[in-house]
Amino acid sequence: MIISLRTKSFNPWNEIQNAQTSMDFAGAFGATAVFVGTMRDFNEGDQVTEMDLEYYPGMTEKELQRLCFEVTQDSPVLEVLVVHRVGKIYPGDDIVLVCVWSAHRAAAFDSCRSIMEILKHRAPFWKKERLIDRHRWVEKNTSG
């Protein structure tokens, strides 16, 4: 399980390639499911120019580990990679990467979706948006 928080922009495709290169189970996986979340320049009808993503150092990393373990403990998943941005983020920047490897597609698809959904409701991150004329805290997740 690879969990990483980043203060700078990252390239999700390079992250996947790097993780895959360092794995010791080449040949064992036949499915790779990927979710990449990217910052939009609009939310709730307003233009968003930047965002500050706050987290709880110490707890956020542990909670990501816990939720990934919970999702995959009874699933034939071979590896999980989660990369999440913190700090200043701009429209077009990737915010989160979830990648799951397994022998067959069902476990990879299901676990990738579950990790992402649980992450949005449990991982301690908070978004503060900068609009044209003010700032505001994002108070709820989008429905999906």
Binding site: L53, M59, R122, A123, W126, W137
Partner: protein
Amino acid sequence: MTVTVKFFASLREQTGCDRVDITIEQSCSVKAIWKMSTSLTLDPHILVAINHAYRDQESDVCDGDEVAFFPPVTGG
């Protein structure tokens, strides 16, 4: 006995404080820790963590604990 209290995101701005160390004479509830830390009302939607793990507002707090209060999370 000392407890470290942390506030995050909008709660940090509302309380004007990101961290405060408070002294307690004996173990007490999360709700009691909140009252000792701020004059704001403890909304039932506010989330609580003790030593980096989720707990509820009825949980007990002990010497040396780190108690965090924060609004619903919005990552991803």
